[in-house]
Amino acid sequence: MVTAGLERQIGSASIWNPASGWGLLANRDPARPLALAILRLHKPPARIESGRVILAGSDILQLDREALRRMRWKEMSFIPQGAMNSLNPVMRIRHQIADAIRAHAPAWSGAQIRRRIEELLERVGLAKQAADLYPHELSGGMKQRVCIALAIVLEPKLIVADEPTSALDVVVQRIVMETLKDVQKQINAAMIVIGHDMGLMAQSVDRLAVFYAGRMVDTAPVRDFFRQPLHPYSQALITSLPSLKERKPLTGIPGMQPPLFDLPSGCPFHPRCSLAEARCKVTAPDLSVLAPQRSVACHIIKERINDQHQST
């Protein structure tokens, strides 16, 4: 659970064993603080109220500063949203990558580092000459790939990618996502992708978790999710997508996502939900397991599925 500011709870969720690619689907802030909390990158006034983050057997939240510093980048790395602004503009790419290696693996020789950098750049589809360029000499897609190269330099166990392609146009988007998925498989890391682009999620993750107002409301394997979305919010999200294949009336979700310090009573989605009943205004539903690997936080959907199980 992550808390910030005036005791407003901004997220609570459990993710078990992110074995391969996870997608956190969130339209506004919630999933991001969660992901930052996983890496303990959250900043005050946010603080982690309770919970555990276990990576490779150790609880990240219990580590002291030095142990955390050692673990970051070596065991878990982060690909930030704006690749444009996350590279140092006055350092050549080579030095930025070497910097990360030296901080975590001081024993490496200069030649080893050089070889590693060249190999890395090739792995993400850049020419090795790119190492001697400055960030401003690269296009947006190339910078984003340098960020990917940086994230995998020490072959971490977990990569958290925050909207890794939101600043790129569709053609480059695909190239970057393919690169990311390729290297993730090569180094056998787990990956968490945060984003709001349903199309991108459908194409790049294995499991999906939907967040609404700071809570995880729906989680499912990606195929099941798009074939049969369960939570009313997930359903509305999918129907509100403008289609490329046909022209049809646009249907949005009425209303706005509530501010996190002023959530409605009961289920936070009830004011915008087409299925809402009286009980939804009173009690907030728990995330409950409704099918193998699928959990949904909704009273009504839960009841429907249970009825189906009984009748069969």
Partner: protein
């Protein structure tokens, strides 16, 4: 130039920089909106294709290097002050980032009253409030929801709607919307787009919708311009261009849109275009370096052909030489959608 055109852009070219190293942002682009026939024109293309520059030309913020832009039959460059003021009022902008369009120090009321004062639309306080209330209601905002509040107290969707309301008060004829929904929640996006569509149908306002999102372009627009490196490579009705893209670049764009269906393969280029291919010379087809159908003729001169009621800048559609249409060009990026349709 006919007097029936509300807005007319004729062979507009914009060049930035000195002649040797000049960057061509927009080249030879023509576009027109007829009086009394409001329509939504979508301008799509990748980053750096000149979309935003085109929007800035229409708004009169950039003077073209060559070519003519006229509003109500008068060229922008030779407008009198009175005409220019009318132009400024009737051609409005909605920008991408609703978080930076407002002065954070003033409440929304003040920001909405300002243009009314400037253009002399209303003088009395009560009159102004009436205008503001009406405009807010038109975009689906309750006046009590926003009035008296500061920009930071509103969500992105609300702010973007306030921007639309601000435009509406001035009774514009044309709105240039530069990526109006790209920074907005997916769930609210549809509502804003619906609101923009309503402007055409109910108020007769034309819209120039600049976007890189082909799906929304298809949903809202009548005409679609696909820009690549400053040139329009395909122009036609939005529906048909996206359904059956003719230009190889349009085909690539359409194929690259990730579909919200994990069973459909994500296709498109896997090799990044090299940097040199993005610059190159402009004597032939601008897409030459990336095109999979390139032929020797493509390097000779910029192509411009008609195909299925569309302008397509591609030699594959040059039917003048041969009686037989060229081999029917299949979309090789085409994903498996066909089987699913």
């Amino acid at each position: 130039m006919t007097s029936t055109n509300l807005l007319e852009l004729e062979k507009i070219t914009i060049r930035f920089g000195s002649s040797s190293k000049a960057v061509v942002a927009v080249e030879d682009l023509s576009l027109s909106i007829e009086e009394g026939q409001p329509k939504i024109i979508a301008i799509a293309g990748e980053s750096g294709s000149g979309k935003t520059t085109l929007g800035r030309i229409v708004l009169g913020l950039v003077t073209p290097t060559s070519g003519k832009i006229a509003y109500r039959g008068r060229e922008l460059a030779s407008m009198t002050q009175v005409e220019r003021k009318l132009f400024r009022r009737e051609v409005q902008a909605i920008l991408q980032d609703p978080f930076s369009t407002f002065n954070p120090f003033y409440p929304i009321d003040h920001l909405l009253r300002m243009p009314l004062k400037r253009f002399g639309i209303a003088h009395e306080r009560s009159d102004m409030d009436e205008h503001i209330r009406h405009a807010l209601e038109q975009v689906g905002l309750g006046p009590s929801q926003v009035l008296g509040r500061f920009p930071h107290q509103l969500s992105g969707g609300e702010r973007q709607r306030v921007v639309v309301a601000r435009c509406l008060m001035l009774k514009p004829k044309i709105i240039v919307a530069d990526e109006p929904v790209s920074m907005i929640d997916a769930s609210v996006r549809a509502n804003i787009l619906d609101c923009l569509k309503g402007l055409r149908d109910e108020l007769g306002i034309s819209l120039i919708y600049i976007t890189h999102d082909l799906a929304t372009a298809r949903q809202v627009s009548d005409e679609l311009y696909i820009l690549y490196r400053g040139r329009a490579v395909e122009i036609g009705s939005a529906d048909s261009v996206i359904q059956e893209p003719a230009h190889p670049y349009t085909q690539l764009l359409v194929a690259s849109v990730p579909q919200p269906n994990p069973d459909l393969a994500w296709t498109g280029e896997t090799e990044p275009p090299s940097r040199t291919s993005r610059q190159g010379d402009r004597s032939g087809c601008v897409f030459f370096a990336r095109c999979t159908h390139r032929m020797p003729i493509c390097e000779t001169a910029p192509p411009a052909f008609r195909h299925k009621h569309r302008d397509v800048a591609c030699y594959l559609y040059d039917f003048s030489q041969t009686q037989q249409p060229n081999l029917m060009i299949s979309n090789e990026y085409c994903r498996s959608t066909k089987q699913h349709d």
